[in-house]
Amino acid sequence: MARVTLENLAKWYGGQNVLDIVSIDVKEGEFLTLLGPSGCGKTTTLRMVAGFVSPDTGRVLFNGTDMTRTPTQKRRLGMVFQDYALFPHLNVADNVGFALRAAGMPKADISKRVRELLALIRLPAVGERFPSELSGGQQQRVAIARALAHTPAVLLMDEPLGALDLKLREAMQHELAVIQQKLGITTIYVTHDQEEALSLSNRIALMRRGKIEQLGTPREIYRNPATPFAAFFLGKINFVPGKLQEKQAGAYRISTSKGMLLCPTKDERKFSLGDQVLVAVRPEHLRIAEVASQNGSNVLPGRVVRQKFTGKVVQYEVRVDEMTSFIVDGTMDRSIESDAPVQVAWDVSATYLYPYEDDQEIGVGVASTEPQVVEVTGKHEANTLSESLAMT
């Protein structure tokens, strides 16, 4: 078990700054997830910890010892690759026992340990088979077993559950969490599945464009996203641009195209009057009503333009003005007709406020001709997210 410290890591690939000063201190036994959109540098960071890529600047330390120049095989790692990387010439048992053989463990002990691991990944009968005779999901589980066999000091996983179906993935997530806690192996996990990140991690490093956007526990990041991107990437979020009009006791008054909105003042960020700001609120904090019956501080009138049944909730898309649409989570027992005039309301305390910045990737910006429908392209819906958050 080791503490892993990433210190000011940076990497350029032919003029492109792929990693831009990444510093993370992974505690002993911690499960840290690198989360972020495709191409943000997750794999590159992981490969630096593994020793496959040397950083242009910065250091990688295990337990305070500089490992930046230590060859991979001396780092006591377990690793699950994005493409499994199982040895095609070895059967499953030999694949799983690879690290044990490399470490010179006696044969009998190896086969005992291999049997344990195959039972753990729920594939007790495949030891004799070759990787090419397994399904993608089975291969992935074998890759996980191979990485765990020798109880590594640091476990590195690059989207290890990507190929599994939902049920199996949930089972494996649970399994991984149990194994990791039991063995207390320091784990760095790469995923772009937000739900997985929320439910598995002790902490999440949310990355974007080679930088760490926010580092914190799943709750911290979900409840208190530090940037609009953090709010956008974890869960769902609605944005409304506005201008800071007035500072009241405990709240800012923001003028938007549809009226005044209130936001709680927080200490960490200071805004001044007249600032361009971005108001944000999550769909699950919104209430929708057909009549002008809502009171409360933040109310916007609108019109339902679309609704989407997602299983647990009905997702309404409410057009607030030409430029802005809101995603609202509604319940099934109360149906609202499309095109019906509605009111969207939420509590002041559920409102986030950010300095305004054009960012078309998250649906904020002048160039967007489409109404700003903000939707995270993840497989999981916002409410399952908050649920998985509640479970941790």
Partner: protein
Amino acid sequence: MPVTLVDDPRPWRLLLIIPLAVSFVLFAFPQAYFIAASFHENLGYGRIGEEWTLANYVRVFTDPLYVGSLLRTIGLSALSASICLAIGFPVSYVIARMTSRRKATLVGLLVAAMFITPVVKDVGLIILLSQNGVVNQALSVFSKPLGWLGSEAGVVVGLVHFTLPLIVLLLGTVISTVPLSLEEAAHAHGASRARVFYGVIIPIVKPGMIAATLMVFNLAMGAFTTPALLGGGRVLTFPILIQRSVILDVDYPFAASLSTILLVSVFCLNVLAGYLMSRQGRFRRMASPAPAAVSTFVKKAA
């Protein structure tokens, strides 16, 4: 009524009839002709007798010159193929793992080098290896000038020089089928560089490596120019003896029997290598996972 399945490969196999016919006319027919000729008596002046006889073969196998030459040819070819493998493998590995644009340039140069006629290559070598050539001058610190030309060593150097570009190309293709992530996975799980090489790379590329080495071996077995020029008439390999019996002795049946023996021994050596290779169940399984899956299935059912 016959039902055609969408995945029925048989209609496509009909296309193979054309290459089969061409091969038959171009290869099988002349081969059969000279093999038949080897079982007849030489009547001199290129004429061939009517009677069937084994006399040519008896002569080959009772004359130490020919038996020795066959063994020497096999030995020199095996040696040069092994040297080619030893020198070629690291080079192929480096080229296969290259990612820059220089890779294409190097592969292009290799292809060009492969197509240079052995005559040209050998003339270059003769100059280098001659009594006062560059090589002997360089070695003069350690020893007296060595007689490379006209020696087996010279022939081996020539054969290696002749076949090296080919084996580098062949091995490069084989090695590049091994994903880099396999090496990384091995390193990550504690394998040293040597272990990765002998435990991962070699076992995976082994079938291709053996095939490439065999090709080089076969080329060396049939090589005429190189042993003729670098052997200077003193290293009598089988192809040289064949040439002599055709040109000097004008004994076509005997030449045909020598050729048949060369053909059969090369064929047998290749089949033997293929057999030894396929006895390693690993390779068979990798090449065709389906039968292995069936066998596990059968095992379970039993």
